[in-house]
Point group: C2
């Protein structure tokens, strides 16, 4: 049953001292070169042990490293073993999240990056997305507004709708790299973004602002869309600032947050609808 990799010995015995890493690198290279396509099974640990002329512990260590990187998936039992799988985004995100945790990165940093990315993404989306996608974006934003109109909104669903809207927007750039970075940042930002929907003061304005952004994109009005994007981040920063004050100073009836928030209810009609 060692005929999965039968063309010729892809792998060669490892050097001493770093056998585990060496083997992991060889297998990783074979995977990235496409010699072992996703879905294919690697030989069993005992077969690899024989191929590499090493102990099974070393093989397990190497496979463990690849599993950690997300390159393979290991299943037990007969017909189990290591299967090459497509890298999933969430692993990349996890790696970033780990880094952000240990470095104690404040939300400011993430918000800044996301705002700049959002601006580029919006511009590209206007230029490249199909009318159907733009309409889907507007429809999604309208659904978000509607969901928040409910006096007892399902917040989990709302968060997911927001997330999907962001990803759709990123996808509209026709550049997958934007979507990947966006996903990674989203998992890092996560809860911060949610706080915007948790405050009743910001909730409706945020959703309505999303709708305006979508409409701006649909009308192919970059400057308008960018204005709404900016307003989103103005609100997000103010919301987080208020939250941190709430948690530190004596909660209750302190003055309004330092950053003055424009009044709610941006008119829908003033922006001319005939494009």
């Amino acid at each position: 049953m060692s005929s999965h990799i039968n063309q010729e010995p892809i792998f060669s015995p490892a050097q001493v001292g770093r056998a585990g890493e060496d083997i992991a690198l060889q297998i990783e290279a074979a995977i990235l070169d496409g010699k072992i396509p996703p879905g294919e099974r690697l030989p069993s640990e005992r077969d690899l042990q024989a191929q590499f002329h090493t102990g099974r512990g070393v093989i397990r260590e190497a496979l463990g490293a690849l599993k950690q990187k997300g390159l393979i998936e290991i299943k037990k039992g007969a017909k189990g073993g290591a299967v090459v799988k497509n890298l999933e985004m969430h692993l990349v995100s996890e790696s970033l999240a780990l880094f952000l945790k240990q470095q104690h990165v404040t939300p400011d940093y993430l918000i800044e990056v996301r705002e700049s990315l959002d601006r580029t993404i919006t511009t590209l989306a206007i230029a490249r997305a199909t009318p159907e996608e733009k309409e889907a974006l507007v429809a999604g934003a309208q659904a978000l507004v509607q969901a928040l109109g409910n006096p007892e909104p399902d917040m989990v669903a709302v968060f997911e709708m927001d997330r999907q809207l962001n990803l759709l927007l990123a996808r509209m750039t026709r550049n997958p790299v934007f979507e990947w970075i966006m996903r990674a940042l989203q998992s890092g930002l996560g809860s911060y973004d949610h706080s915007l929907y948790n405050h009743p003061d910001y909730r409706e304005r945020t959703a309505f602002n999303w709708l305006q952004t979508a409409k701006g994109i649909h009308r192919r009005e970059p400057l308008q869309a960018l204005s709404f994007i900016g307003y989103h981040y103005v609100m997000l920063r103010a919301c987080l600032a208020r939250e941190s004050m709430d948690s530190q100073g004596p909660a209750g009836d302190f003055p309004r947050p330092p950053l003055e928030i424009p009044p709610a209810g941006l008119p829908d009609s003033p922006v001319h609808n005939d494009s």
Copy 2:
């Protein structure tokens, strides 16, 4: 010699079936909670084996995972062992870079993202970097120009200088997330960027353009700096287009590249020097 973690048993025996992961998670949590600060040594593998009531192989697997994540560093010999270290950014970036590699992203996508990122980074760097950093950037660009003035330039050194300039610029934003993304994209872009220095036609212009960019940042002239950034990517795209034509069509004396490149030798004096 098990007194490094002597307050109380931080760790508890692991459940069966996923002992390795379980142990890795426990240690990781202890590290991220700050119970084991960076620089501290973990108990030896044999001590951990006793604490967790498990085999040494499992311990090695767990430590290997943490090492893979970059949370610890393992040294051999007496007084060796696993020491907690600060997460290095390049490891985190590697995660995204690995993903980009497996997805076979074309250079177009990466270039687009990098250009938009470069523009934001440049703007922020002008606003936030110290004068010393800006001078260092100019000095680095000058060194690059000088290195390429040599008829037989050390290309490896040139690539590294270019890389370092990019990272310095990203660091000047005071936002580590930009540096993270930059590093990830760099390791993905890598060789594409190098082609700019490999073509004699573009080599000097690229370095000179770097110098102009750095000077624009130093003079706090965002629009000028952005113009030079744009020119860099104009050249990069043209260079890659020519390369792909070279490799496909009959190489030799075909017409000039489709995208007309402005003449070399942008004047240094015309931009006013008195800021």
